[in-house]
């Protein structure tokens, strides 16, 4: 599997966020998108996820433009933005059930997933009562339910505590070791041991 960005350009109003940006990510690699606030990190990730179209250039997944294989591509990718995408009125368990319903993955053991993201014992708690970090952990559970090979993470550490960041690092390391690929943006210093990390500076 290979993801390529070919000469993508993005304009926001009259401002050029980036021009002629190209990169390649292979299986088993992490791409770290770096840049200052407002430099277009989130926009770049939205373009790579297929939510937004670039103003020029294209994103290519296994030699096919993602716009041509949109439905197929979105099943091989999981998108976690800075917004959590969880329903406050439902419990943690119901939220995971819903994200399974929206994906192609089979019915999984929800309690196991909750335990993995450190929310054991909160299965039937309404998400409204969760702290920001717990909501973030619940959002990260989508990485486990969707079973996708490409993870696109926009500021995944936001609101996570030290143990949460460690959990995220473990998830990413494990995923990449299993030949997955990760594209992420981050303000924090990210250090992965024994992983191929590329950087893309905006």
């Amino acid at each position: 599997m290979i993801l390529q960005a070919k000469n993508i350009t993005c304009l926001r109003g009259h401002r050029q966020l980036f021009t002629d940006l190209s990169f390649t990510v292979n299986s088993g690699e992490v791409l770290l998108v770096e840049g200052e606030n407002g430099s277009g990190k989130s926009t770049l990730l939205r373009i790579v996820s297929g939510l937004r179209r670039p103003d020029a250039g294209e994103v290519v997944w296994n030699e096919q433009a993602i716009t041509a294989i949109a439905a197929d591509y979105s099943q091989q990718m999981v998108w976690v933005s800075h917004r959590n995408g969880i329903n406050d009125s439902l419990t943690a368990k119901e939220n995971i059930q819903l994200s399974i319903s929206l994906s192609k993955s089979a019915v999984l053991n929800i309690n196991q997933i909750l335990e993995r993201v450190g929310l054991k014992g909160y299965a039937n708690t309404p998400v409204r009562q969760f702290s920001a970090g717990m909501k973030r952990r619940l959002a990260l559970s989508r990485l486990l339910t969707q079973q996708a090979s490409l993870w696109i993470l926009d500021e995944p550490q936001g609101a996570l505590d030290k143990a949460g960041i460690e959990l995220l690092d473990n998830l990413i390391t494990e995923h990449v070791a299993n030949n997955g690929m990760v594209i992420m943006s981050s303000h924090h210093d990210v250090q992965f041991n024994n992983l191929t990390v590329k950087t893309c500076r905006l």
Binding site: L51, G85, I86, N87, S89, L90, E94, S101
Partner: protein
């Protein structure tokens, strides 16, 4: 391992819509309460003359229903948009048309159907006879889906604007006028002892048209919304 059927997914998506609505059941009562209050304040304001009430009853009920639906429009996709779930719907394994249809069906059942079920009681209170009430219910059943679908199309297009209530009303009301005219004229025709078939057929045509076309328009509007 793949799932056995997509029906299970559809079922759990629908049931979660109803579950969320059940947990916010007092919010769902708002349009209904508005509808009842408007309909009951008119007789108090203009006096209890049966003839006068009979003349204006169809107009009051239809206008109140229209405004109640307009009020409920701004929250069809609002929370989904704000908390990022709309993006996940776009990227989901199921077609966005299906997900949108489920959402709209749930919204109609929860916000509009109670209003239609209550309308015979309001109509009796305003002195409407039984056969006129039947036409009223028929016209509401055919007309309210049009109001919801057309309104949701516009409200989805204005999702990126944070406080869109006023703009939404201005944009949607002209599109609602034909439905209001045909809805009330069907009821008035029955009250005058004529056949209501003409206006009802027009409403039915509008209903079929919006049922088939607006989900696709809403889907395009959602995609524009999440690409911002």
């Amino acid at each position: 391992m793949n799932k056995m059927t997509p029906f299970h997914d559809v079922y759990s998506l629908i049931s979660s819509e109803f579950l969320v609505a059940f947990r916010h059941r007092y919010e769902a009562l708002n349009p209904l309460l508005f509808f009842v209050l408007v309909c009951l304040l008119f007789p108090l304001g203009i006096g209890p003359s049966p003839q006068l009430l009979n003349t204006i009853a169809p107009g009051i009920i239809w206008a109140a229903a229209l405004l109640a639906i307009l009020m409920s429009l701004s929250n069809v996709f609002r929370t989904e948009y704000d908390d990022g779930r709309l993006e996940l719907m776009v990227l989901a394994n199921h077609s966005l048309v299906l997900l949108t249809t489920i959402k709209l069906l749930a919204h109609w059942c929860l916000n509009v159907l109670p209003l239609i079920l209550l309308s015979p009681i309001i109509a009796s209170a305003l002195g409407m006879s039984f056969d006129v009430q039947i036409t009223l219910i028929l016209s509401l059943l055919l007309g309210t889906p049009v109001l919801l679908l057309v309104g949701t199309t516009v409200s989805t297009l204005t999702l990126v604007i944070p406080q869109n209530g006023m703009l939404l009303a201005l944009l949607v009301l002209p599109l609602y006028v034909p439905v209001l005219i045909f809805g009330t004229s069907a009821v008035n025709a029955t009250a005058a002892g004529m056949s209501a078939a003409g206006p009802l057929y027009v409403l039915a045509a509008l209903c079929v048209l919006s049922l088939t076309l607006s989900p696709f328009a809403i889907v395009s509007a959602i995609k524009i919304g999440v690409s911002q």
